[in-house]
């Protein structure tokens, strides 16, 4: 069997798993899982980030502790906890996708909260003061003045976080989630004679996806600094 024959006979399995005759898997599942995790982690990350900057101690301390614990443990540990304790906590038998999704959302929210915190702290204090002096309360200041600006500066970091999340989904392999790494291993077991080709294709797939996205983040960041320097110039003249 040559590499081309390998790709020819397994590419559908690699991209979508057993779908439509079975559950969705492969690259499609990896992308869906990563997107869903980031989308769900985003609001939680904003809440955590604001909680860490909150003036109330009873809110700030527990969230700060949670973020420190999550950042100090490997993602695999979070997945194990979710895998073994979600069923007994909720009473439902959670499938691998939900388990992985919940672990990723908690894990990503902790990291996003740092990005949000940096974004909010990087904002000029005058913005908050101006809004408060216009009679806006805390929440309306956050909603209409602080977050829209902070989120814009955070955009490149968010794209990079998406890259990390795609890479993190590979750990679903360990709990038997049929994402792309798991599928690649299945193919490797079936073909048996071509491990190098199978894993190189796997690596290449991740590379194309993540490299493209991180270049996009780089481009966003550069465009932002250019725009900032343009507005600075217009102030001078």
């Amino acid at each position: 069997m040559t590499t081309l024959e390998l790709i020819d006979s397994y590419w559908v399995y690699f991209l979508v798993g057993q779908y439509p005759n079975g559950p969705l898997g492969g690259l499609a599942l990896t992308l869906i899982l990563a997107s869903a995790a980031l989308v769900l982690a985003m609001p939680l990350g904003v809440l955590f980030g604001l909680a860490r900057l909150s003036p109330w101690r009873w809110l700030r301390w527990p969230v700060t502790a949670l973020v420190f614990v999550v950042r100090g443990t490997p993602l695999l540990m979070v997945i194990f906890w979710a895998y073994f304790f979600l069923p007994s906590l909720t009473g439902f038998k959670t499938d691998q996708f939900t388990t992985m999704l919940i672990a990723l959302v908690i894990f990503d929210a902790a990291y996003l909260s740092e990005i949000v915190r940096a974004g909010v702290q990087g904002l000029d204090r005058g913005q908050v003061e101006a809004s408060r002096s216009l009679g806006f309360g805390y929440w309306r200041t956050m909603r209409w003045v602080v977050l829209p600006q902070a989120l814009r500066t955070m955009l490149p970091s968010l794209v990079n976080q998406f890259v990390s999340t795609i890479k993190e989904t590979s750990l679903g392999y360990i709990i038997g989630l049929t994402e792309i790494s798991f599928i690649a291993s299945q193919i490797n077991t079936q073909v048996f004679t071509m491990p190098a080709q199978v894993y190189l294709v796997l690596g290449l797939t991740y590379f194309v996806l993540c490299f493209g996205l991180s270049r996009f983040a780089f481009w966003l960041e550069r465009r932002q600094t250019q725009r900032v320097s343009l507005t600075d110039n217009s102030k001078v003249t």
Binding site: G72, T73, P74, L171, A184, L200, L202, Y206, F207
Partner: protein, 243 residues
């Protein structure tokens, strides 16, 4: 549905400390922790020189060498560590000569492939930190070195690097923290480190809470030590200097 939820409470109430304090399972968990620490240390020792080498490649005046460094860093960073591990465990030994492969399979191939994957992965991230450290040193330092008659490598080694590495220590410590957490992924190729042993103890005793609590607190403690080292360094050298 509601009838099952007290199970967590029950498990918490009869938390079995004796399992963690002595006996066979205590030994398994502890040997896992030791192996995790060993993995991290060996990787750190191998990755640092490699990272420095890659950083110098990326900053070298020769174009093809820059590209080589760029290709290394991007190709490693954009592929998850798990895929690296699988490659080095399942695929890479195929390329080795027969006799060497037999020797490898007779020994601890799991740990070796994990260390190779971890080293290459960590070096890619560390080289970026070292590179930005070097770039933070004003170019006149290098030029002054050259003007005094030192070659490129000599002025790097004697003038730029001693200053750059001092700036780089803090980000390198935080990469070490990532490395520490990444050692857990070695469990996929069957290295008997902490995560693997926690899983084994769980399977053998059904004491998930105890074994995971042990693993989590062990990971957290080492992470805290590493974070503490970073804070100490910051306090001792960076702030003291600026005062």
């Amino acid at each position: 549905m509601a009838g099952r939820s007290p199970r967590v409470l029950r498990e918490m109430l009869d938390f079995d400390y004796s399992l963690l304090l002595s006996g066979q399972y205590h030994d398994m968990l502890l040997s896992g922790l030791m192996l995790s620490i060993k993995l991290a240390c060996v990787t750190l020792v191998c990755a640092l020189p490699l990272a420095l080498f890659i950083a110098l490649l990326r900053l070298s005046p020769v174009r093809p060498l820059q590209w080589l460094g760029f290709a290394y860093v991007e190709s490693i960073r954009n592929i998850p560590l798990l895929a690296h591990m699988l490659f080095w465990y399942f695929a890479a030994p195929e390329f080795l000569p027969e006799s060497f492969r037999e020797w490898l399979y007779a020994g601890n191939i799991e740990a070796i492939s994990a260390i190779v994957a971890l080293t290459l992965y960590t070096a890619a991230f560390m080289s970026e930190d070292i590179r930005s450290g070097i770039r933070a040193i004003p170019i006149v330092q290098l030029e002054a070195g050259r003007a005094l008659g030192f070659g490129y490598l000599a002025s790097m080694r004697l003038v730029v690097l001693p200053q750059a590495l001092r700036v780089t220590v803090a980000p390198l410590i935080s990469q070490t923290l990532n490395l520490w957490k990444n050692t857990s992924i070695a469990t996929v190729v069957g290295v008997a480190e902490l995560m693997y042993q926690a899983g084994q103890v769980e399977t053998a005793t059904f004491r998930s809470l105890e074994s995971f609590a042990f693993a989590t607190s062990a990971y957290l403690s080492v992470s805290l030590l590493i974070t503490g080292a970073a804070a100490w360094y910051q306090h001792r050298y960076v702030q003291a200097k600026s005062r």
